[in-house]
C-alpha cells in the first residue's frame, strides 16, 4: 500500500560503538510501550552484559503538531492547544503563552490576577511533583507513595475544577488576566490544603527519605556535573541538584514572584537522591509561596480593561454599544499583534519552559515555539545512563521527570 521503508543499519552505524558491530555488545529496544518510560519514550540501549554502554533516545511518538495548529488559530483560540503540551502543568503552559502575548501586544495584568496566577501555578507544581514522586518511587518498587500522592493531587485538581470547571485542561489563565474571578469557596479550599499538606509531605518523607532500599537505588546513580548541565542546557531540579541555584522565579521574576519570600533548594551530589530531596523541598517552598500570596491577595479586577485585547464583561454588552462592538470584533476576527517577536519563560516543575512568539501584523501568530524542559533534559539521558545497570535506567528516567507531551509537542 504505502511506501514503508525499513531503516538500514548503515544509517544508524554512527550511533553505536564498534563493539556493537562485531556483536560484542547487544542492542536492546526499550519502549515505547513500557510502564517505566512514563509515556511513549523509546530507548535503544547498547548493553555490555547488564551495563549500559550507550543509550539512544527516540522521541516523537506523541507529536501532535501543536505549533503548526497554533499558527492557524487566532491568539485567543490558540491558547487551548497549550493545555495539551505538558499535561501535568497546564496552568503554567497557559501562563507562559499569555505572558508572551501580553509582552507582544503590550498588555497590562491587574495585581489580583497575577497573585491568583502564582497560587494556581504553585498548586500545579505541587500536583506535578506529586505525580513525579509517586511514579518514580513506583518505578523503584515503592508502591504506596503513589497511592498517597494521588490522594493529595486529587485535592488540587478539585481546586482547579472549582475555579475553572475543568480538572486538567483549564485554559483559565488568559492574555490580559484570567477567565473570571475565583469563587468564594476558593480561599477556604486552598487554606485547608495548606493545613493538611505539610503533614502529608512528612508522611512521604517517612516512607522514602531514610528507606534503605530507596537509598540503595538512588544514591550515586545518574550523576552529571554542573558544567555538563549548562552545556546541555539542563534546567530545573536537575541543575539545582547539581549545585546551581538557578530558578527563573528568582533569576527573572515574573507575575510578581519578587514579592514573595522563598528559598531555592539546592544539593551538590547531583544523583537521583539529590533530585528527590530538591523536589520534596520545592513542594514545601511552594506551600510557603501560596500562603504568602493568599495572605496578601489584593482585591480588584482580574482582567485588563483594555478592550482591544480582552473581551468586555458580559454585563456591559447589553448596555454599551462599544462593548458590543469589541466583543464582536474579538470573537470573530481576533486582535492583531505587531510584526515583532518576543520570548517569555516560566519555571516549570521540570525546568525552564519558554515560548518564542512572533506576530505578523494579523490576528494569527506567525510562529509559536515552545522551548520545553523535557525535550532538552532528555537529550542528556545518554550522559546520565552510561555505565549504569539497565534497572537504574528506569530510576534515572524517573529522576529527570519526563512528560512526553512536553517533549513531543
Amino acid at each position: 500500500m504505502s511506501d514503508v521503508r525499513e531503516v538500514t543499519l548503515e544509517e544508524l552505524r554512527h550511533l553505536v560503538s564498534e563493539r556493537a558491530l562485531s556483536g560484542e555488545t547487544m542492542l536492546l529496544n526499550m519502549g515505547p510501550q513500557h510502564p517505566s518510560t512514563h509515556g511513549v519514550l523509546r530507548l535503544l540501549l547498547e548493553l555490555d552484559g547488564e551495563i549500559v554502554v550507550n543509550c539512544i533516545p527516540d522521541i516523537g511518538f506523541l507529536h501532535t503538531g501543536v505549533e503548526k495548529n497554533m499558527e492557524a488559530k487566532t491568539y485567543q483560540k490558540a491558547e487551548v492547544m497549550t493545555d495539551r503540551l505538558d499535561y501535568l502543568y497546564n496552568i503554567g503552559n497557559n501562563l507562559v503563552y499569555s505572558m508572551a502575548v501580553e509582552k507582544l501586544v503590550n498588555l497590562d495584568v491587574p495585581p489580583r490576577a497575577q497573585a491568583i496566577r502564582v497560587i494556581l501555578t504553585e498548586l500545579s507544581r505541587i500536583a506535578s511533583h506529586l505525580i513525579w514522586l509517586g511514579t518514580s518511587a513506583l518505578d523503584l518498587a515503592a508502591m504506596s507513595v503513589f497511592l498517597y500522592g494521588m490522594r493529595e493531587r486529587e485535592y488540587i485538581l478539585d481546586i482547579f475544577e472549582l475555579v475553572s470547571g475543568q480538572r486538567m485542561m483549564t485554559t483559565y489563565v488568559r492574555p490580559g488576566g484570567l477567565w473570571r474571578d475565583v469563587p468564594v469557596e476558593f480561599e477556604d479550599a486552598v487554606r485547608n490544603f495548606l493545613k493538611i499538606m505539610p503533614k502529608r509531605l512528612d508522611e512521604y518523607e517517612a516512607l522514602l527519605t531514610k528507606n534503605e532500599l530507596f537509598l540503595d537505588r538512588t544514591k550515586g546513580i545518574g550523576i552529571i556535573s554542573k558544567e555538563d548541565c549548562l552545556a546541555y542546557g539542563l534546567s530545573g531540579p536537575i541543575l539545582r541538584a547539581a549545585g546551581m541555584a538557578y530558578d527563573l522565579r528568582k533569576a527573572r521574576p515574573y507575575s510578581g514572584y519578587e514579592q514573595y519570600d522563598f528559598d531555592i533548594p539546592t544539593q551538590t551530589d547531583s544523583d537521583i537522591y539529590a533530585r528527590y530531596l530538591v523536589r520534596v523541598e520545592e513542594m514545601r517552598q511552594s506551600l510557603r509561596i501560596i500562603r504568602q500570596a493568599l495572605d496578601t491577595l489584593p482585591f480588584g479586577p482580574v482582567r485588563s480593561n483594555n478592550y482591544k485585547f480582552v473581551p468586555p464583561p458580559r454585563s456591559e454588552i447589553g448596555t454599551s454599544m462599544e462593548a458590543l462592538i469589541h466583543h464582536f470584533k474579538l470573537w470573530t476576527e481576533g486582535f492583531s499583534a505587531p510584526k515583532e517577536y518576543v520570548h517569555a519563560a516560566v519555571e516549570s516543575p521540570r525546568g525552564e519552559l519558554g515560548v518564542y512568539l512572533e506576530g505578523d501584523g494579523g490576528p494569527k501568530p506567525l510562529r509559536v515555539h515552545y522551548r520545553t524542559p523535557t525535550f532538552v533534559n532528555l537529550q542528556a539521558l545518554p550522559l546520565l545512563t552510561r555505565g549504569h545497570f539497565v534497572a537504574d535506567v528506569v530510576g534515572i528516567i524517573g529522576s529527570i521527570d519526563i512528560v512526553l507531551g512536553d517533549a513531543d509537542r
Binding site: V4, E11, G354, V376
Partner: protein, 178 residues
C-alpha cells in the same frame, strides 16, 4: 539594554556586520550565516553566554530572500542577561553551520529544525528526523506545507487520492530525507 549585553553587542558590531533590533527590552542581533560560529564562540568564551536556552526557526514564505530565519536564544548565568541571534537564510536548499561544537544542547534543537523546516546544519553529527517518522515526506512547519483536512484514503481509492496529495510525486525513501 543591560550593561553586559551592551558590551557584547558593541564588541560584535566592530567585528561583524550585523543589524540590531530591540523590542520590549529584548535585544536581537541579525547576523550573517558565515559569521555565526565565530560570533557564538566569542559570546560563550568572552561574554559568558554559557547557555543556549532555545533554538528555532521561522518561515517567511512566499518571501524567498531571506525565506528562513534561524533564532538562537542565549542566556548568561553569570550576568543574568538574555541575547538573541537571528540568521537569515535563503529559500533554496537552506543550510547554516551547526552550533553543536559550541553548545551540545543544539544537537536536538537542530534535528528538530531540520525535521520541521528542512534547514540543513553543516557539521552536525547526527542530522536525522526527531519528531516525525523517519520516512516522512516534507517538512511540516514550512508555510507551504498544508495543515490537515486531507481526504481519507481507503483501500479502493488509495492511489487515486494519493495522487492529489502535495508530496505524492516525490520519490519515497531518499537517503537525504532521513
Amino acid at each position: 539594554m543591560k550593561k553586559p549585553v551592551e558590551t557584547a553587542v558593541k564588541a560584535l558590531q566592530k567585528k561583524f556586520s550585523l543589524e540590531l533590533h530591540e523590542y520590549q527590552g529584548e535585544t536581537t542581533l541579525i547576523i550573517q550565516p558565515e559569521d555565526l560560529v565565530k560570533a557564538a564562540r566569542l559570546l560563550r568564551d568572552v561574554y559568558q553566554f554559557d547557555m543556549l536556552i532555545d533554538e528555532t526557526a521561522v518561515d517567511y514564505w512566499p518571501q524567498e530572500t531571506p525565506r528562513f530565519h534561524v533564532v538562537y536564544q542565549l542566556y548568561s548565568t553569570e550576568t543574568n542577561s538574555l541575547l538573541r541571534l537571528r540568521v537569515p537564510l535563503n529559500g533554496h536548499e537552506p543550510a547554516v553551520d551547526s552550533l553543536v561544537s559550541v553548545w551540545p544542547v543544539a544537537n536536538w534543537h537542530e534535528r528538530e529544525i531540520w525535521d520541521m523546516f528542512g534547514i540543513r546544519f553543516n557539521g552536525h553529527p547526527d542530522l536525522r528526523r526527531i519528531l516525525m517518522p523517519y520516512d516522512w515526506q516534507g517538512h511540516p512547519l514550512r508555510k507551504d506545507y498544508p495543515l490537515g483536512y486531507e481526504e481519507v484514503q481507503f483501500t479502493f481509492n488509495y492511489d487515486e487520492i494519493r495522487q492529489r496529495k502535495p508530496y505524492a510525486n516525490q520519490k519515497p525513501g531518499r537517503k537525504s530525507d532521513v
